[in-house]
Symmetry: D3
Subunit: 137 residues, 6 copies
């Protein structure tokens, strides 16, 4: 009745095709448990992998910066699996101990000042109102 | 009975000293509302500013990367003030529209896969167990 | 000094009365750990059970839909205990693997688009302003 | 199609009975918007009020401490309505500006160190393992 | 320097193609602000729409149930835009006031019991350990 | 490649100085794992300890109330380490089982009503608008 981690050997052709692409893209010879779990719902496996491959590709931000952002979100959300897997990915992409220390210091500080701004209900300065979307005319 | 945004003119010497340091460090001529709100509790104002100045200083991560991480946490926590103020700071530090687009795409993707890992209760791979702290011997 | 899981045999009459009602309502012969933990504070045990019994009873939404919603919230909040216990309850109420797969896909997608809407600070469309409460006249 | 804030004059007898009890218990002459909104679903109105009345009554913790805890949770969750209403309640129960300043400093600090403990994945000390529930024998 | 809501008339061919598909799929004649905001980063617009279309399509769960789950997550995360837009979508798919009342009651209850399970650190019952993934052999 | 819990014997002079101050301030003879983890990034160790020492010192709120608030935030955020360590600290400061039961009841209730206020999008009463910061003039 329960789900299982789907190993390559047990996997359907549809799942294997995704596993093959993960391994080829990342130059590794086995996929990690996250993908084996998603393989229980092949549509989610395929869609998630295709999205992640696109989002994490080098662009205006380089892969290391993207992995640091991933760890920042995962630590804020308390996702142990994701902290582990993306810290490992960040290490591979060049994160050293000093960078990890600074990353977590910024994450923690942001979580602190977020609550100060929220708790004091600080009104947004005019100067910041167009930092993301311009206010409607 | 309620608190107010403390303007420089009304501020105590203790608060003015912090405001002066913020303006000198950031090369601006007025502090933003966040600091005016914290000025209602001078110990919090001073401590928060000193911590922020230290944490956000250039180090192994450069100031732009630190601001991107700040926005990532603030968007995850839904702190509108912090999204506005740190997006503005990130713009100053060099973030362009393409970088903002990629940043939010990674933040959103991380929030998505965090819940897939949590919802499926995916067990951590052995290979990731020492990505942060080594397991106790 | 610390609390314990309170077993039926050790329980006070007040706690046993709640345990009896849980077992009778759910047609089971022992209560799960959540209730044994709450039994350390009998007022919380009684109030929580009475509320849960009322909220989860069949109504305009059927029990399966209510359990799916419970799992959705628990996965978003990262409550492992609640994911486990309410996934089990959802299974009993008829959730199969395909439904679980779709449920987690929706939960993850919602967590993703929540952060896109927040990060871009998208203003609410006029057309949606009365979707919940009508705006004050 | 949308819901409305239900005023006393429009309310059903069932809703009025709850409104009357809120006003009598709190010695006020009108209920705040939260209750007017819940009145759209009378079962939720009644149940929520009865639970809140019980939980917030003086006990081992006094009402001021309970209101401070309420503000702490609401600031962490970013619930503006709840920060406003429970800060007002805390003021009534005796919270002054210095207490509010210390409250928000502790809330912010806890949000910061929560992420340091999570980000570093710090293993729980043996000495803390029975701080809440004793580990199973 | 700031982003804008991109209207159809200003949009690139790439963005218009996505807008056209949203309007055709949903049988509406203009897209809501969420999509106009994402249009600032066309890759995110296209990817998010394709994912959402796939995830929210009828399957083992019907579209109303999926919208209810979306509202549940959005209320838990405090995303006002998403509560508004998905409550409107749920109304269209058949949600009436009684269903909305029950939905929010379940969401609130789940948020409550999540913190009781977490605060008491309740250990997972053996019987629930295979509710999602089977434990590794 | 991975970090370790830094024991006093291995620690640098800079780290030892902080450990010594923690032990002296708290009148204990060894620091808990949180500090041993932070010792991997000495600047974070020092800054976090100095902030915590200042924030948690007796003031307008007494140390027990501050520890209760810490547990409230930690339970809301689902930080197991912090629930354990601050529940232990609260016990030391005088929290008994009845107080813990009431604390968790308030935390859970606040998490529930936060989502009711958010889900119904309840507009803030005029009377609460100056509970924290006075609205701009």
């Amino acid at each position: 009745m329960s789900l299982q981690l789907i190993e390559y050997e047990q996997a359907s052709a549809e799942v294997r095709a995704v596993f093959d692409d993960i391994m080829a893209t990342r130059r590794i010879d086995r996929v990690n448990n996250f993908w084996k779990a998603l393989a229980n719902h092949p549509a989610t496996l395929r869609r998630t992998w295709e999205s992640l491959k696109e989002v994490m590709a080098p662009g205006s931000l380089d892969p290391l910066v993207k992995e640091l952002i991933y760890v920042a979100v995962s630590a804020t959300n308390n996702c142990n699996y994701c902290i582990g897997s993306h810290s490992a990915a960040a290490r591979k992409a060049g994160m050293d101990d000093a960078m990890l220390g600074e990353l977590l210091a910024v994450v923690a500080m942001a979580n602190e000042t977020n609550r100060l701004a929220i708790g004091y209900q600080v009104p947004l300065d005019e100067a910041f109102k167009d930092a993301v979307l311009a206010p409607a005319g």
